[in-house]
Symmetry: C2
Subunit: 399 residues, 2 copies
């Protein structure tokens, strides 16, 4: 019997006790032992829970109990999640987390702390919810080379974009429905402005490169400006608009992109997530599944619990995340294939682009609206165009 | 420095030495040590290879060398792969393989032999080529419960079906093109008749249930009978026809199925493979990638090499495969939602189905051809219908 603690007994924390019960036989065979939740740290009491007697309001009893070998941190937020995780590891306990914010901001310190204290710090549930992508990258793919990663890592925005695509509705009305269904928060900023996806691509980039980028160096653009016209244009081009979190292992960014139908990411619908890693030996690998939700996320935490308790994680490759002094190139200076829609004459736009792009394809030219694919153009160059003609929309194309 | 041997230096075996060289830094960090190929067993010599001096024609020097801790079996076929693998494990060497035939036929004995000799027997590359699906099922997903698996696990047939769908051509002409491109063998039987997929679903079913089914208990129907009309019908129904290898953890089978577009398997194109596992906590998880080819398959073998050499595999859940005395239900007695096209009167067909199915949807009724969706019907019941009306086609629908 191995004893663990859960700190933060909300949606995910509560899911952990449920999954440990429901899948107890599977957990035992994987962890190598029965697993009991000995403490639950939360500000609240849970008098009606069968775990009521395990609830504590102070981390100290957990730190002091040598029986507790592992702590699940499912509090969310940077603080006190960081301080509690560090304290647990200094007390010789491994920590597993679903908290993308603390990993994206302090993953370097947390992994270093684990190393110094001879314990594990795992974070499968921090990206892609129930999708077993991180362990796979740290085991099977660790002996290969990751050349790039592109992912749909935010279910809320994917739900909104899918709805806009299927029903031709506006961003606002799709957001309202997502809020009614509980897929979007009342304050949807972190999701729709790409902040959540930014944290996740910081983590994926660190797994691919070892460099933990600062959030100010990771461009994040959300989906508020995507219109029904953009959706229609993407369809005409044989694709869909998705919020893509990507890294080429030098720069990472989040922005809406037109994804062509021959890319499996184009077909990821509703709240599902998908992460496409391009590797040297194995080529493209896509991981797809439920990127959020109580049981999928808790299931991913439980998988990490088992990896630690079995001892497998002790033998697996342990990543090192380090901050770099080298600033990555500015997003505005990186060129992308870009769909542009402008109110101007056809030649007016193509003449401007001729000096910038190797290739410009005019898609349509009707009623004073020109649509082109510029191959390729930077955000800075696009701003120069905007200063001269009335650009209604510009959406990058994933290639 | 850890020494390994490769037995069978063909496409995959040759890929292993290449991947070990190209990704040497990544292999070292994952395996925990440098890896050298000390022996290559093959009937042929490779005088122009940098590994020419490692080539042996007899297994004995490999068995006798205590430095060799692991053997990659990439011979293919059941014999002598089985005997060589057993001999290696009895000599205290772990074995990793890309050989689906030997795992599907003798996985129970091979895992038992590994257990008795305190070594590992891993087979990531036997299903899904470069897709890291098996390790993920044995680690992250092992603590969850797999409720069903459905996969596109044969690239040749998926290439042919994709071509038929995109170009409206016949099976024969798509096969000819696949053969010219090297995606299909001169004798394409194992692929197009579902034998290759049958082996892979036997392995996936064993991972999900522990039961290694006999091939005679796993129905396998290939794609030879799929016509351009069937493809058009699938499109009309909002889906595609795919060769689906599936298990509900009681019965496993391979047959062409109409997959609706809301299922990610519908969008897997060309030679790519995808495996969709439905789990209790995490819900649907799809693994997608290159199901065959020199480097992806070799990459998967190398991942297993690293898992063994690092010691991680010693701590991971080790599956037991066992033959069962209980015969699974006959395929012909299992009911599926089924698309039926018949040359007969509308009522003639619906009257026959009324007594069998809960629900029958007529899709079209033109020029003496009736198309229906029968929900649901068994193969035996379908044969009864065939005896009474001229059924031109019947394709099951994945649900």
């Amino acid at each position: 019997m191995k004893s663990i603690a859960i700190i933060g007994y909300g949606v995910v924390g509560g899911g952990i006790t449920a999954v440990l019960e429901t899948n107890s036989a599977q957990v035992k065979r994987t962890a190598g032992d029965d697993v009991q939740v000995k403490y639950i740290l939360d500000l609240r009491d849970f008098p009606d829970s069968p775990y009521a007697d395990r609830v504590v309001h102070d981390i100290q009893p957990i730190l002091d109990d040598p029986e507790v070998v592992l702590v699940c941190e499912t509090m969310g937020g940077s603080h006190p999640a960081l301080e509690f995780s560090v304290a647990c590891m200094k007390a010789g306990k491994s920590v597993v987390t679903s908290n993308k914010e603390v990993v994206a901001n302090f993953g370097d310190q947390l992994l270093q702390c684990a190393k110094e204290n001879g314990v594990r710090y795992l974070f499968e549930a921090s990206v892609g919810g129930g999708i077993p992508v991180i362990r796979s990258l740290l085991t099977s793919v660790a002996c290969d080379r990751i050349e790039k990663v592109a992912g749909i890592v935010n279910g809320t925005t994917n739900y909104i974009l899918t709805k806009m695509e299927n029903e031709g509705c506006s961003f606002e009305s799709a957001l309202t429905e997502a809020q009614m269904l509980g897929y979007a928060e009342k304050d949807p900023t972190a999701d729709v402005d790409g902040i959540d996806a930014q944290r996740k691509i910081i983590i994926l980039n660190a797994l691919a490169t070892g460099v933990l980028l600062n959030s100010e160096d990771v461009y994040a653009e959300g989906i508020r400006n995507i219109t029904a016209e953009d959706m229609a244009a993407a369809k005409k081009l044989g694709g869909s608009i998705k919020l893509i979190a990507g890294t080429d292992t030098v720069t990472a960014r989040v922005c809406p992109m037109i994804v062509k139908n021959d890319n499996p990411l184009a077909h990821i619908q509703d709240v599902f997530n998908g992460i496409l890693a391009t590797t040297s030996a194995c080529g493209d690998i896509l991981y797809y599944g439920r990127g959020a939700g109580r049981y999928p996320t808790a299931g991913a935490v439980v998988a990490d619990v088992c990896a630690v308790l079995s001892g497998a994680a002790d033998r697996e490759y342990t990543p090192v995340f380090a901050k770099s002094d080298v600033k990555p190139p500015e997003f505005a200076e990186i060129s992308f294939v870009t769909y542009i829609r402008a109110e101007c004459g056809r030649n007016e736009l193509t003449d401007l682009l001729k000096d910038i792009c190797d290739k410009t394809d005019v898609i349509s030219d009707e009623n004073g609206v020109v649509e082109v694919i510029a191959d390729r153009i930077t955000a800075d160059q696009l701003d120069e165009i905007r200063a001269k003609v009335n650009v209604k929309s510009a959406v990058r194309v994933l290639d």
